[in-house]
Each structure stands twice: as structure tokens, then as C-alpha cells.
């Protein structure tokens, strides 16, 4: 089969690889009908996530048709249409029982590796490094889905792929980002990053009752997309974010701040950017935490900083004083997708939201490397790419 394979930092290739086969009784093989490129994939391609190996198949946002199931899968059969959550979760452990699927205790066969870096190991994730399991991803014609009786959600035929594909990751992620803000009526939520995740976080914040949402980025075309959710926008290359947010919130600051950017944030001041970029290149710091720092500084006293942007290792100059003295709360995590697929599918079905509004490009899987270029370099107003095998 054809698959999008990582062949080195900033190098991808669509290659022929063997077809997947059942390895565990609770596996299913899915023929992928739609798959997407995520901001998280960029961190990987850029080489900031450790333990990625040449030959790894990428992709963690995918859906398709079940073609084979292992002997332990009862509720799925060939022909079923499913969307597959990106974290792999067993459904039976302590974490899964508590709905914390992205930290499932059983789904990462390489937990020992992750433990060395992070103390304890998170769940396995499709196509997302060996430390997170060494599972091939879904930017391929077929994918093996472990714990197929837990993760995949069945979709009736009437909904097109594009409306439900993002249940695999970015819609639940944006939603969880907003949910972690504990939104109450009358509140204002600020969101850094007008990428697809930030846009869906904005839409979700409104679904959860936010009064105002302010989205921050520097790409006008992305800000325009965010604006369509009803959000106000700030271009950080044109205004001082902290001052603007203070002015817009009666001097108090947003009630909650969402970091939808993560470890590869950009900084408008060249010197600041050079400082962290240099440290990152020298591997003295793995992540560039501008957004995290700014979100903490901006948040109102006693507010919540919700971090859904992905971080890989260590950050410098974390404003612990502001964080501690102003009674802030940080909430974070890889999304516990399995917790949200059902309820969010209901919202899509009820017409409350159609997450396909983020799509800007539709391309064949064979053009995955070019699609990554467009998405990474923000060319051709690229916002979100859906690939079809």
C-alpha cells in the first residue's frame, strides 16, 4: 500500500510499504477514506519530537471502512464506517475508567522510553514517535487500529467524511481546550493560534456559552476564518497583545486563555525569537514557550490557562511568579478524544456545528509532501488539508 513516510527532518515521501496485519485480537484494519494533516505533525516533521525513526508512517487523523477485525472485536464488522481517535486507549485501565484516554496505562508498548523523558508514560498515539508507541499512522491506504472495540466511533452513511473526520482529533481538542476553561456566562476567552485547532476552540467556546472570544495570530487569512466563528481578532504583529487584551477586558484580562500554538511559537520581536530559537537549535531548550508565557501574563487573576498546543520537552523562563501569586490554574493534555466523540457527533448531527469549515485544501495522498509544505509555510492560504488515498 501507499503511505506517507518520514525519511528525515523536513523530508517526507509517499512510498510503498507492506499492508498492515492484525497483531492483537482486539485490532481492526481500516481502509482509510480520508485523512488530515495536523499542526502536531509539523512538530514531528520539524524534528522536535524525540524518537521518530526513518521509515515511520505519519498521520493520526483518519477515518475509513473496516475491512478486517481480530477475534476479540465484537461490535465492529467489515463494512462499518468509522472515525478513529488519535490516542490509542484500552478502555479498561484506571485512566480509561476515569475518561483520561490519552494517558491510558496499557496502550504504549514503549512506555519505558517515555518514562525516561517524562517520569511516567502517556498513551500510544498513531504515527507519533516511538516513545509514544511506535504505531504507524493513518496517512496511508490502510491502518491497523488497536483496541478497535474502544476507540473508533461508527458513522451512519448519511454524513459525509468531511463533516465527521475531525472527530478524530481537532474538534474534540478544540472542545476540550474550551471545556478546561470552565466557561461561565459573561466570560471572555482569549485564544492564541488561529490554526484549525484555535478556530475549533473558538467555535467550541461559543458552544459552551462564552460571551466573547478573542483569537490571536499574525496571518490575516487565518484570523478571517476565526472571525467567522463570531470571535474578535488580534494581529500580534500590529498590536501589543497584553495591552490590547487589557483594553478589551476592562483592565482585568481574559477569564481564561487557551494556548493553541504549542512548542513552535513564533515571536514578533526578532531578538526574543532568536534567543529561544538558538537555544532550541542547540538543544538546550526543546520548546519555544512565548505563547505560554504570554497567556499566563495576560490571564485575569484566578483565571485558567488551558494548554492544548503540544509541548515536547522543557521550557525556559516560565513565569512562575505570576502564575503562583495570581492564583492561576493550568489545565492541559493531549485530548481524551474518546470522551468527546459521541457527544460531539450528536452536536454535528443536530446541526449545531459543522467542523468542515476549517478545510482549505483537498489533495490526493500521493501529494502529501507538497501538502505538508503548503500547510507548514502557510502558502496558498493553507488552513487545513484533507488527503484522500
Amino acid at each position: 500500500m501507499k503511505a506517507n513516510v518520514w525519511t528525515g527532518r523536513n523530508h517526507l515521501e509517499v512510498r510503498d510499504v507492506p499492508d498492515p496485519q492484525i497483531l492483537n485480537a482486539r485490532d481492526a484494519i481500516v481502509r482509510v477514506t480520508s485523512t488530515a494533516i495536523c499542526g502536531s505533525d509539523l512538530h514531528l516533521v520539524d524534528g522536535y519530537i524525540p524518537t521518530v525513526k526513518k521509515g515511520d508512517v505519519l498521520g493520526h487523523e483518519f477515518m475509513g471502512e473496516v475491512v478486517e477485525v481480530g477475534s476479540g472485536v465484537r461490535d465492529l464488522r467489515p463494512g462499518d464506517r468509522v472515525v478513529v481517535p488519535f490516542p490509542i486507549a484500552c478502555g479498561a485501565c484506571f485512566a480509561c475508567e476515569d475518561g483520561l484516554y490519552s494517558v491510558c496505562e496499557n496502550s504504549n508498548p514503549n512506555a519505558g522510553m517515555a518514562e525516561k523523558l517524562m517520569g511516567h508514560a502517556p498513551a500510544g498515539i498513531f504515527g507519533y514517535s516511538h516513545m509514544l508507541g511506535g504505531f504507524p499512522g493513518g496517512q496511508a491506504e490502510y491502518a491497523r487500529v488497536p483496541f478497535a472495540d474502544v476507540g473508533p466511533i461508527k458513522i451512519e452513511d448519511d454524513l459525509p467524511d468531511e463533516k465527521v473526520l475531525f472527530l478524530s482529533d481537532i474538534f474534540p481538542t478544540g472542545f476540550m481546550g474550551a471545556e478546561m476553561c470552565d466557561i461561565k456566562p459573561g466570560q471572555t476567552i482569549a485564544i492564541w493560534g488561529a490554526g484549525p485547532v484555535g478556530q475549533l476552540a473558538a467555535a467550541s467556546a461559543f458552544l459552551l456559552g462564552a460571551d466573547r472570544v478573542i483569537v490571536i495570530d499574525r496571518f490575516p487569512y487565518r484570523l478571517r476564518r476565526a472571525q467567522r466563528t463570531g470571535a474578535e481578532i488580534l494581529n500580534y504583529e500590529e498590536v501589543k497583545v497584553l495591552d490590547a487584551l487589557r483594553d478589551m477586558t476592562g483592565g482585568r484580562g481574559p477569564d481564561a486563555c487557551i494556548d493553541a500554538v504549542g512548542m513552535e511559537a513564533h515571536h514578533p520581536t526578532p531578538a526574543m525569537y532568536a534567543y529561544d530559537r538558538g537555544k532550541q537549535a542547540a538543544r538546550m531548550e526543546t520548546d519555544r514557550p512565548y505563547v505560554l508565557r504570554e497567556a499566563i501574563m495576560a490571564c485575569r487573576n484566578g483565571g485558567v490557562v488551558s494548554v492544548i498546543g503540544v509541548y515536547g520537552g522543557f521550557v525556559d523562563k516560565f513565569p512562575m511568579g505570576a502564575f503562583m501569586n495570581r492564583s492561576l490554574t493550568i489545565r492541559t493534555g493531549q485530548c481524551h478524544v474518546q470522551r468527546y466523540t459521541g457527544p460531539l457527533l450528536d452536536r454535528i448531527r443536530a446541526g449545531e456545528i459543522d467542523p468542515s469549515f476549517v478545510i482549505s485544501h483537498r489533495m490526493p495522498l500521493s501529494e502529501a509532501p507538497r501538502a505538508f509544505e503548503l500547510f507548514k509555510n502557510k502558502q496558498d492560504e493553507c488552513n487545513k488539508v484533507v488527503l484522500t488515498p
Binding site: V17, C90, A92, N106, G124, G133
Partner: protein
């Protein structure tokens, strides 16, 4: 403690070796042998040897045993200085005798360190690990009590066969020869703990203890495991070390994680990056995360 001591000796070797290489003449004068032809060359050679000691003592995982190399060096030096003192008179003789005394003192320290190091290396290998399994205590206990189940999650074991009456035959893969021994259960409290040890005279000296307690808040079962492997004989010690890997603690933790997977999900979870599920070293020798060929 012993290791810290050994490292300190390593630093001493480094300083001494460097001095002998950089300023051989000063060293020979200090020892009263500067009149001998080729004295500086000998000093340089001895300096090189000191650096070798330093490398071993500062670089090795268990440095103390390597103090033996220093003891050997000391013996050599004592011989040379002894002869030098006997053949000389006056100030040179006094200097040589002083050096002789100093080296004798140091060699006593080296010997103590080396002996402690050897004792430590010969001591049993002990590991401990703990995990919480989301299943009732009875069930977890029963699975472990079927000792034949152990190889399904313990990488270093090939098979365990029950012989009845609490006795069992264990096989493990060694680097050259396979290890085999007979074990007996020496204590057992249903649902609480199982303790076993190898029957004396069956090749490997090993013991294990596993205990089961209710998890906090009544959720699941805490499993605590302690394993001990004795090191009788050089060959066996090497085999056991290889079998348990570079990081035995890590390995037993991984074993328990697989035990948990079997209990909670029904089998060991596999990925294409580590497809064998439970082979030793699988985390080091990852395949790319792409489907395994063969059938397709």
C-alpha cells in the same frame, strides 16, 4: 560509597599520570632516580599507565573492582623504587625511600577499595518493582500463581513448567548457554503473597517474592515484586547479568507493565515498532513504525 572512593582514586591517577607526562623530570628528581639513563622515558610510560587506571576507574559502571589495576601498578612501582633505594646513597636514597613509603601507603588503600569492589560485584543482583492492576486481588494472584504464565510477560524467561507439590522447572535464555533451574515455593498465602527460591544445587541461585494488596480506594491490586539472582561462578554471573540486561530495574518494570496488559486487556500490546510484544531489548531495536511485511 565504595564506588565514590574508587572514583576519587581515579582522579588521583589522572593527576599523577598528567604530572608524569607533562613534567617527567621533576617526578624522577622527587623519587631520587634522576641519575638513571632513560628515567624520564620510564616516568612517561608509568604516567600513561596511570591514565589507563584513571579511565577505568572514572569510566566504568562498577569502578571499585578496577582498583585491582592500581594494585598491580603499585606492585610494579614498589619493585622499581626498592631497587633504586638499594643502589643509591645520600639524598637520592632518602628521596627514594620516601617515595617507597608513600607508594606502600597508597597501595594499601587501593587494595582495600579493590577488595570491596569485588565483594560488591559478587553480591546478588536484587531488583524491585511495583504496579497497580485494575483487577480484583484474587484474580491477579491466581494468574501469577500459575507460574507457567510468567514467561508470557517476563522477557528473560523461556518457560516455567510446574512439577507439582510447589516445585517447578524454569528455563531462561542465556547469551551462550541456556540457564535452567528448579524452584520451590517456600511461602504462600492465598491472595496475599507467593515466595519461591531455587532448589540448592540446581545451577542458578535465585529467589522471588510477590505480594498482592488492595489498591487505594479499593481500586485494583498493588503488585510488589522482588527478585534476587545469586552470582556463583564467573560464567553464571555473566549469564545472569546478560539475561537481566543493562538495566534490570527497567526490565522488571517493563515485565510488570506487560503483566498489567495481560490482566487488563487480555494480551501483551504490540506495535509495529516493537512487534514481538515481549522480547528483550525490543525497545532498543525498534523497527520503523510501518506495517510488518510478510503476509501482504
Amino acid at each position: 560509597m565504595t564506588d565514590k572512593f574508587a572514583r576519587a582514586l581515579g582522579w588521583t591517577s589522572l593527576a599523577l599520570g598528567t604530572a608524569q607526562l607533562v613534567a617527567p623530570r621533576a617526578v624522577t628528581r622527587l623519587c631520587g632516580v634522576d641519575d638513571a639513563p632513560g628515567a624520564t622515558t620510564v616516568a612517561r610510560l608509568v604516567g600513561g599507565r596511570e591514565l589507563l587506571h584513571a579511565a577505568l576507574l572514572l569510566g566504568a559502571k562498577d569502578p571499585a573492582q578496577w582498583a585491582w589495576t592500581r594494585v598491580a601498578g603499585d606492585t610494579m612501582d614498589l619493585g622499581v623504587l626498592g631497587r633504586a633505594a638499594a643502589n643509591r646513597t645520600g639524598t637520592r636514597r632518602t628521596r627514594a625511600l620516601c617515595a617507597l613509603g608513600a607508594v606502600a601507603g597508597i597501595s594499601a588503600i587501593d587494595a582495600v577499595c579493590a577488595r570491596r569492589g569485588t565483594a560488591k560485584a559478587k553480591g546478588p543482583l536484587k531488583v524491585h518493582a511495583s504496579i497497580t492492576i485494575n483487577k480484583p486481588r484474587e484474580e491477579v494472584y491466581r494468574f501469577w500463581r500459575e507460574l507457567e504464565n510468567l514467561p508470557s510477560f517476563m522477557v528473560h524467561l523461556d518457560s516455567v513448567r510446574s512439577l507439582g507439590q510447589g516445585r517447578s522447572r524454569w528455563k531462561a535464555k542465556g547469551p551462550v548457554v541456556d540457564l535452567e533451574w528448579e524452584a520451590e515455593i517456600i511461602d504462600e498465602r492465598v491472595g496475599d503473597l507467593i515466595a519461591w527460591r531455587s532448589v540448592p544445587g540446581t545451577g542458578v541461585s535465585t529467589a522471588g517474592l510477590v505480594s498482592f494488596t488492595d489498591g487505594p480506594g479499593g481500586r485494583g491490586t498493588v503488585v510488589d515484586v522482588s527478585l534476587e539472582y545469586g552470582m556463583h561462578g564467573r560464567e553464571l554471573a555473566a549469564a545472569v547479568a546478560r539475561m537481566c540486561g543493562e538495566h534490570p530495574e527497567q526490565q522488571i518494570r517493563d515485565d510488570l507493565r506487560r503483566f498489567k496488559q495481560v490482566m487488563e486487556t487480555g494480551e501483551v500490546v504490540r506495535s509495529e515498532g516493537s512487534p514481538e510484544g515481549h522480547r528483550a531489548l525490543r525497545q532498543l531495536r525498534q523497527r520503523p513504525a510501518q506495517p510488518i511485511g510478510g503476509r501482504a
